[in-house]
């Protein structure tokens, strides 16, 4: 049941949904805890209390050095990559009205991957760094999917099928590039391919944080259009939504979120698929809630990374392996459910 309260101080008014707010705050607290816990792991022992103290510029000088200079890039990248994947998953799933239409299924992350790997192997744009390459690759594969599938009607398995096709094409291209890579390049790429936070540095974190500072508010600002598009093109247009412009800007926002996240941490599997569904089920809303999906994504990614480091402290297990292990059964469950309900398409 939906409970909503009206808040009004004319001419300003709005609604408050206690359950959604509660879920968002709780998940936010969990994300913060995981963010801090992640920074306790390492050769130099730190307690959660010391990490929190260091965060607020208190505590021991060396603690602050360890937290800010060594460990924070990884925690920040985990936080924002998870947030970006969760939020873009919510965007795609709402626009297509299909829980399977997440950017990692559709080959958008795969497109970013191909571009980044191509950049490393062929030495193209090595001066540019991974972020612009990832963005270009994600945009190119999104454009391809849009041209092949999106022109007439947005729902149905057509998008998924075309997306899977594009995804495989990108994967083959990535494999081809890998086969031509030098040994040390291949080693660097393979670690990154599954989604990895082990190589996090401030150099990777800063562009990501800046991109998120722009993209997240823009996406939230567009959420009114997102709600309208969720009702289908005709109804959205009837309610005064400029459908083409709305869909295009939302897709660009979603693609940019994925692109920057992929460029920073690689194509971490299943976060974009699972986080919106987790948030939607916890908050009992019809469409995945944007911000809450982002927070859920951060929880999933930070939690998986912590798990990887706690379970195998010596092997530097990539976080994508853990999210893949957790995500595969989730995907199967989602497919089984979608089939039973006769929906999902």
């Amino acid at each position: 049941m939906t409970v909503a309260f009206r808040l009004a101080a004319p001419p300003i008014s709005g609604t408050l949904r206690p359950r959604l707010l509660g879920v968002a705050v709780t998940l936010g607290a969990v994300a913060f805890l995981l963010f801090c816990l992640g920074m306790t792991v390492g050769d130099y022992p730190l307690s959660v209390g010391k990490v929190v103290a260091a965060l607020f510029s208190a505590g021991d000088y060396y603690d602050r050095v360890v937290v800010y200079d060594w460990r924070m890039p990884r925690a920040l990248i985990g936080l924002f990559v998870g947030f970006a994947f969760g939020m873009s998953g919510a965007l795609f799933q709402t626009i297509t009205r299909n829980p399977l239409a997440s950017p990692d299924m559709l080959g958008i992350a795969a497109g970013a991957t191909t571009a980044v790997v191509g950049g490393i192997v062929l030495g193209i744009g090595s001066g540019l760094g991974t972020q612009p390459l990832g963005l270009a690759g994600a945009l190119a594969s999104a454009l391809l999917i849009y041209l092949l599938a999106w022109q007439r009607g947005t729902t149905g398995y057509r998008i998924i099928l075309v997306g899977i096709g594009v995804s495989w094409a990108c994967n083959s291209a990535t494999s081809y590039l890998l086969a031509h890579a030098k040994l040390y390049e291949a080693q660097q790429i393979v670690g990154w391919l599954v989604g990895n936070l082990n190589d996090s540095t401030w150099n990777l974190a800063v562009p990501l944080v800046i991109a998120m500072a722009v993209l997240v508010p823009v996406t939230v600002a567009l959420s009114g259009w997102l709600r309208a598009l969720h009702l289908g093109d005709d109804v959205a247009a009837a309610l005064g939504t400029p459908v083409q412009a709305a869909r295009l800007s939302l897709l660009i926002a979603g693609v940019a979120l994925v692109a920057f996240a992929t460029a920073a941490a690689g194509p971490v599997a299943f976060v974009a698929l699972a986080a919106p569904q987790i948030a939607k089920r916890l908050a009992a809303t019809a469409a995945p809630p944007l911000i809450t999906s982002g927070i859920a994504g951060a929880v999933v990614l930070l939690g998986s990374d912590l798990l990887a480091r706690e379970l195998m402290p010596d092997t530097q297990l990539p976080v994508g392996v853990v999210t893949g292990l957790l995500g595969a059964p989730f995907l199967l469950w989602l497919l089984a459910r979608a089939n039973r309900a006769g929906s999902g398409g």
Partner: protein, 272 residues
């Protein structure tokens, strides 16, 4: 009162022209029903009137301004349309759906005003959905679902309301419910209504103004009593029939003849 009018409309899907050189003025404050055989362009025309389809040529005027060059949100405050059999997302509740009808009236700082709340409450009451407000739309019966969509369009509070086959897939009782509701909106609130209906007898009963279309052209329009004749029905629907008087509403009642029944005197005297 807001006037809806079309001039020299040409409507096409890609290269296939569906409607060509059509002029139309919707009588303000009345119920207009568009009838015609399948694929005659009636839904296409309705979509063009509601700016869901851009015309290849010609213009639709709402309140004297072209609907395609007026900001779409502004149009949405004056004209509402319920497309043919829309599908609600899984899990969306009735009250959430009806609330979406308010979005053309909302803004950044005005997300949920008392006017919004009043409009939603009234729309739920008018469609008798108040008790079902918190149920997911996809779990309702066909008739309830259609009423929920109509409630959304009502909450939009537009002086002009277009409905594309609002009775499709409904059983007889629910068809009458929906049509009676449309009459309420017209009589009580003075809304201009334009509907596409399949059932010619319902069109005769509920319309003030009937528009009969064939192959993308308007072949006749006017009050049902003057428009609906056996000749017209044979021309538009390719069906021989008798037309008598509806004992309930005293509007024309069309009774198709078919191949297996003899032509009676009455029909021959009407149609020859």
């Amino acid at each position: 009162m807001i006037e809806l009018r079309a001039e020299n409309l040409r409507l096409a899907y890609d290269d296939r022209i569906v409607v060509d050189d059509l002029d139309l003025t919707v009588p303000p404050g009345r119920i207009t029903v568009i009838v015609g055989a399948n694929a005659c362009g009636k839904s296409t025309l309705l979509r063009a009137l509601a700016r869901l389809l851009a015309p290849k040529a010609g213009t639709v005027y709402l309140d004297g301004r072209s609907v395609h060059s007026t900001p779409t949100r502004q149009v949405a405050r004056q004209l509402g349309i319920l497309p043919q059999s829309p599908v609600a997302p899984d899990g969306l509740t009735v009250v959430d759906l009806v609330t979406r009808g308010r979005s053309p009236h909302q803004s950044w700082w005005r997300q949920w005003s008392s006017a919004d709340e009043a409009a939603v409450t009234e729309a739920l009451r008018a469609t008798e959905l108040t008790d079902l407000a918190d149920r997911p739309v996809d779990e309702l019966s066909g008739g309830q679902r259609q009423r929920a969509w109509i409630a959304m369009a009502i909450a939009q509070e537009t002086p002009v309301l277009l409905l594309d086959e609002p009775t499709t897939f409904l059983d007889l009782a629910h068809q009458i419910d929906v049509l009676d509701l449309v009459v309420d909106l017209n009589r009580n609130e003075g809304r201009t209504i334009v509907m596409v209906l399949h059932d010619l007898n319902q069109a005769c009963r509920y319309a003030d103004h009937v528009i009969a279309m064939k192959a993308g052209k308007i072949v006749a329009e006017g009050p049902p009593t003057t428009v609906v004749t056996p000749e017209l029905v044979e021309d538009v629907f390719d069906v021989r029939c008798q037309v008598t008087v509806d004992p309930v509403s005293e509007t024309p009642l069309v009774i198709p003849t078919g191949r297996h029944h003899a032509v009676t005197d009455r029909e021959s005297e009407h149609s020859r």
